[in-house]
């Protein structure tokens, strides 16, 4: 099937391929399909050991309603949004500036500052854990959304700078030079020339960082505890402890928790993939 385009293959092979596709997809997504089916089953199915069979009745509305009314899930979801949105804005804003500085100007330490951001972004979280937790405690921000946001913004700036700088590097430099010849102030070049050209990069980074931060679990556990400030990833695990054998509720809760980044991905697919594959094509 590769690298021959399927249109040039024999008819029989084309039909085989077309029927293999959905089959492969179902196999690949089996874990998700299972959760989706779990989430619409009645409790009785699990009591009667009907785990992997068809639901005996459709209880989707009841289960999902219970997740929203009978649990702390709405609060966790709200927390996740309150953490994720400011982080995205903060990290993207900071990295637009650092990326501009590193991508446009030539100065001696340029590459070393760039490498500091890149290297820092690869660091294992554990080497930061104790000092950052202590720092957050000392600033009185432990167990607050602000504390979590500040750290996320700082850490994500590493990856975002890598991305923004490479993106700006690929822009036509003549535009900036022409603006300079016109005598336009440097900050105005940033604001009126470069920033408008960065829109696709900003979109790509925003969805990507949204997903990263939404799915973060480690820092949520290290810097927060309890319903008032923890995001949905941490919420799901306490949900797990609370409803240990209530698989239908657990599944519904997990799907609700997974939905925002999935929706984000589908809305902004092209940008999302552009962000992930930075550098994969040369």
């Amino acid at each position: 099937m590769f690298p021959t385009p399927i249109e040039r293959s024999p008819r029989a092979w084309q039909i085989t391929y077309q029927s293999l596709l959905p089959l492969a997809l179902i196999l690949w997504l089996l874990p998700l399909i299972a959760v989706a089916i779990f989430s619409v089953k009645p409790d009785a199915d699990f009591v009667n050991a009907n785990y992997w069979g068809w639901p005996s009745s459709f209880e989707g509305f009841t289960n999902y309603a219970l997740v929203f009314t009978g649990s702390d899930m709405p609060q966790y979801l709200l927390n996740s949004f309150k953490i994720t949105i400011p982080t995205v804005i903060g990290a993207v804003a900071l990295s637009c500036m650092t990326g501009f500085a590193l991508g446009v100007y030539k100065f001696k330490s340029n590459i070393w500052i760039f490498f500091m951001f890149v290297a820092g972004n690869f660091v294992p979280f554990q080497i930061l854990m104790v000092p950052v937790r202590d720092l957050t405690l000392q600033m009185g921000l432990y167990n607050t959304i602000t504390g979590l946001v500040l750290f996320h913004v700082a850490f994500q700036t590493g990856f975002c700078t890598l991305f923004m700088r490479n993106f700006i590097r690929a822009l036509p430099f003549e535009l900036i030079e022409a603006a300079r010849v016109e005598g336009i102030a440097e900050w105005r070049i940033f604001w009126f020339v470069v920033l408008p050209l960065m829109k696709p990069a900003i979109a790509a980074l925003s969805v990507l960082i949204f997903t990263f931060i939404w799915n973060d679990y480690f820092w949520a556990v290290v810097l927060t505890q309890g319903v008032e400030s923890q995001p949905v990833t941490a919420g799901i695990t306490s949900f797990n402890a609370q409803y240990r054998a209530a698989y239908h509720l657990m599944s519904a809760g997990s799907l609700v928790a997974a939905l925002p980044p999935v929706a984000m991905f589908f809305l902004m697919q092209r940008h999302f993939i552009a962000g992930l594959t930075l550098g994969a094509v040369k």
Binding site: M1, F2, P3, P5, E7, Y17, L21, W28, L29, P31, L32, V35, F38, A49, Y51, W52, L94, M97, T98, A101, Y105, I111, I113, V118, G120, P124, F125, Q126, I127, L128, M129, V130, P131, L135, A154, T157, G158, E186, N215, Y217, F218, V221, V222, I236, Y247, M250, S254, A257, A258, P261, V262, F265, F266, I273, L276, T277, G279, A280, V281, K282
Partner: protein, 305 residues
């Protein structure tokens, strides 16, 4: 009044002369400060902390290298280290697996875009959710794995309760999203493959494996490099899945350094911050070897421009 305006012109002209030197630093300042404060300094603080005994509350006591000495005799540390190596090796399977799926999906039939994005799905979902789902799959009483094993006449197994299988079981769960990630990288890379080279290869009689190995894979080098970077980093950062699926068990046999460090410093094993920091330092040094290699590759490329 006149004085002030003269002053103003002088200032603006000074600014005017130096603005190209100063602007980058003004733009960099907030980002660098934030990053130093939250990322760079904490690394050094952890190095320092690893020489102390500290419960996180009272005064820290300087103990020299005794944390590292204890680490040297700590069996749990070696279990974690061994599991880290297993993670590193097995996780790399995501790269060929991703390439395989990418090749499979690299066609232009109707609806293929939807297929591509649905195949990418696992990566968008939190590892916490992935971990939960795979825990149900592996469950010894009702898991689908045992249903399948039973149907082909094999004895049931308790993957997450078996010291020999637990790490492999968790890695398989991790491979699911990671393969999706590598697949997307390769799909993008395949878009850029030169059709003329394929045609030339075909004229030389290259087919199947030979075509893949000698014509396609060399052109996918940038994608492979990125897949390698993200997979290595992902393997060494593994924490969420272990925490959700086994909490390090059974008997600590699924720990990796990142999880063991967390356990020592923040969980029931007590608040041994200094000891935790020494584990983190070891993990950091392992990662540093890879980071240095990545940066070196990037540096060469920058020079080549």
């Amino acid at each position: 009044m006149a004085q002030a305006s003269v002053e103003g012109t002088r200032q603006s002209s000074w600014w005017h002369r130096n603005q190209q030197q100063l602007t980058p630093w003004l733009f960099l300042a907030p980002g660098i400060l934030f990053f130093l404060f939250y990322v760079i300094f904490p690394i050094f603080q952890s190095f320092n902390l690893s020489l102390y005994q500290w419960d996180g509350l009272g005064a820290a006591e300087y103990v020299g290298v005794s944390n590292y000495e204890e680490l040297y005799w700590d069996e749990a540390f070696y279990t974690s280290l061994k599991n880290n190596v297993i993670w590193l090796v097995l996780y790399l399977a995501a790269i060929p697996a991703g390439l395989f799926i990418a090749l499979f999906l690299n066609q232009t039939v109707t609806g293929i875009r939807v297929y591509k994005s649905l195949f990418f799905f696992p990566f968008v979902i939190s590892q916490v959710v992935v971990g939960l789902v795979f825990t149900w799959f592996y469950d010894p009483t009702f898991g689908i794995l045992n249903v399948v094993l039973g149907s082909v006449g094999l004895p049931p197994m308790n993957v997450l309760g078996d010291e020999n299988w637990v790490t492999v079981g968790i890695i398989i769960a991790g491979l699911w999203p990671q393969t999706a990630y590598c697949m997307i990288l390769y799909l993008t890379g395949l878009n850029a493959v030169d059709p003329e080279q394929i045609e030339a290869g075909r004229l030389d009689g290259a087919k199947g494996w030979r075509m893949l190995w000698y014509i396609i894979v060399p052109q996918l080098r940038p994608a492979t490099f990125i897949a390698f970077v993200v997979t290595i980093i992902g393997a060494l950062r593994s924490f969420d899945l272990i925490s959700v699926m086994t909490n390090g068990g059974p008997f600590g046999s699924s720990r990796v350094l990142s999880f063991y460090m967390f356990e020592v410093a923040l969980s029931e094993y007590g608040f041994r911050m200094g000891y935790g920091a020494s584990i983190a330092v070891v993990l950091f040094l392992i990662m540093l070897a890879f980071i240095a290699y990545f940066l070196w590759s990037m540096y060469k490329e920058e020079k080549a421009r």
